[in-house]
Structures are given as C-alpha cells and as structure tokens.
C-alpha cells in the first residue's frame, strides 16, 4: 500500500486487525462497568487505547512497511512530548486538595 515500501499485509490481515480493534473497544466498555475506580480504571483504559492505536498505526497506516527511519523519526519524539505533558498532574492535585475553602 505504500508508495515505496513493500506491503506485507493482506485484506485478511486487515480484517483480523479490524476485529481486534473492535474487540478492544468492547473490552473498554466492559472495563468501564467493572467496579474499578479512578486512576486504576484510567490506566487500564489508556493501555487498551494505546494497543488499539499501535495496531492502527502499524497495520492500517502501514508504518511497519515503511523504512525504520520514518518510525524512529516520528514515534519516539511524539511519545516524549506526550510524556512531558504528565507534569501537569501535580498541579491538578494541588488544586483539588489545597484550594481555598
């Protein structure tokens, strides 16, 4: 499917990935209705979403068929920026627990 890279996936592979992504979406709904609360539930939900996104990027967007250079140029930098955004949480908790009464 790529202009330059050799495509290794077939329609059968695409259907399997499609099924996996839908199943994982269903799993998210099941997780939401379990009795887990708060941070633990959010971590589980995001873990499932990351797997779904990984499948989509690698198989639907065919990043695995491109040169490794492209993957290395795009993904680590994006993940780094998103991880750096996590520094806001401490201020969020401060606002929750130390707000003026």
């Amino acid at each position: 499917m790529t202009t330059t890279g050799k495509v290794t996936s077939t329609l059968k592979t695409d259907m399997i990935v499609y099924g996996c992504i839908l199943t994982l979406s269903g799993l998210q709904v099941v997780l939401a209705y379990q009795h887990t609360q708060g941070t633990q539930l959010m971590v589980r939900m995001l873990a499932v979403a990351v797997i779904q996104a990984g499948l989509g990027v690698m198989y639907f967007m065919h990043l695995r068929d491109e040169r490794r250079n492209l993957l290395l140029a795009l993904i680590p930098a994006t993940v780094f920026v998103l991880l750096m955004m996590n520094m806001i949480w401490s201020d969020s908790f401060r606002l929750l627990h130390m707000r003026p009464k």
Binding site: S25, M42, M61, R67, L82, M85
Partner: protein, 209 residues
C-alpha cells in the same frame, strides 16, 4: 556541470541526496501533520484530565442507553470506515479506479453517518441542559471541555469527508492519482485512532452508575 557550478549551488539530476525516509513529500507532510495533530489532541485530553481531576463535583452523565450505546455504534461506524478506506486504497493502488472511487465514497458515507450520530449525541446533552459553561450536574467546565474535544474531533471527521470527496472526484477526473488516495487514507485512519482515546477519556470514565 563543472566543479564551480556544483559549489555555486547548481542542481544536477542524479546527484541530489536520497530522501532519508524514501517516501514522497506529500506523504511525509501528511505524517508530520498527523504527528502535530496527535500532540494537539494529546494536549486537549491532558487539559481535560487536569480540569476533571481538580474538580470534586465532576459530572458523570453518560447512561448506558442512549449515550454509551450510541458511542459504541459510532465506534463501529468509524472503525468500519477505516476498513473501507483500506479497501479503497488497495483498489486504487492495484489500478482499479472504479472500485477505488466506490470504496472511497462508502468511507465518506461512513463519516457522514458518524457525524450524524455525533450531532444526535450532542443534541441529547443540550436537551438535558448542558451548555458551554453550565450544566445541571456539577462542575461548569464539563460542557466546555466536552464540546471542545468532541467538537475538534467532529471537525476533523467533517474535514476528512470533504477532503476524501474532493480527492475521489479528482481521482475520477484524472487530476489526482492513487498516491493522493493513500495520503488521505492516512488522515482518515488517524481520525479513527484519535476516537480510541476520546471514547474512554470523555465517555467511559464518566458513566452514570
């Protein structure tokens, strides 16, 4: 070309440096756009998490029916439209123009159905009294963050619907080629992937128990 010509910045076919990623510039630009857009959505979702975490009375308004059922249906439609886009790209790359155009328009139809379901969801919440800075349940920021995130995603879906229509019609007339279909399929899959994060963060973590 003499040595002087080369040092003066002259371009000679065959001696320019090979692209490090070995992909056409249009595709590289789309990837760079996708990465920047992913960070934009990431920032919005982090801001949403920040406001939610800092609010002791964050509303949990989403009932299984109609909201979660509607969201599940929207997810099914959007992921299915990604599959039809894959079929369209595959057909276009194989030189089957008619099939490529047909499947691209099926994808467009999926995008329109998704948008209609989304608007139905919005109207349901608006009927219940949710506005940008007020709602009947709790933290007034709920409406602003909810409409900002889902609105930006809906804008992307509508943008994709328009872009795919333009590219499919251009492909039919010979103005665009299968590479353009492929480049815009990347955008469509990205819109699908963003939804995978919007659903748990915005809907499933706020279900009514």
């Amino acid at each position: 070309m003499s040595e002087v010509g080369l040092t003066m910045g002259g371009h000679v076919p065959g001696i320019t440096e090979e692209s490090p990623f070995a992909i056409p510039s249009k595709k590289l630009v789309m990837w760079l756009f996708i990465i920047s857009d992913a960070v934009t959505f990431g920032a919005l979702l982090f801001a949403y998490g920040y406001v939610k975490n800092a609010s002791p009375d964050w509303p949990e308004p989403f009932k299984f029916s109609p909201s979660i059922v509607n969201v599940m249906l929207m997810t099914f439609v959007l992921v299915s439209s990604s599959l039809t886009m894959l079929v369209a790209t595959r057909a276009a790359k194989a030189g089957n123009k008619t099939s490529g155009i047909r499947w691209t328009f099926i994808t467009v139809a999926g995008g329109i159905v998704f948008a209609l379901l989304h608007i139905r969801e919005w109207l349901g919440l608006i009927r219940e009294g949710v506005r940008l800075f007020q709602n009947p349940w709790g933290s007034p920021m709920f409406g602003a963050t909810f409409f900002a995130i889902t609105g930006l995603h809906l804008t992307h879906v509508m943008g994709g619907v328009i872009a795919l229509t333009v590219v499919a019609l251009g492909y039919k007339r010979g103005r665009y080629n299968s590479d353009d279909i492929e480049v815009w399929s990347l955008y469509w899959h990205f819109v699908d992937l963003v939804w995978m994060f919007v659903v748990p963060m915005v809907y499933l973590l706020n279900i009514s128990r």
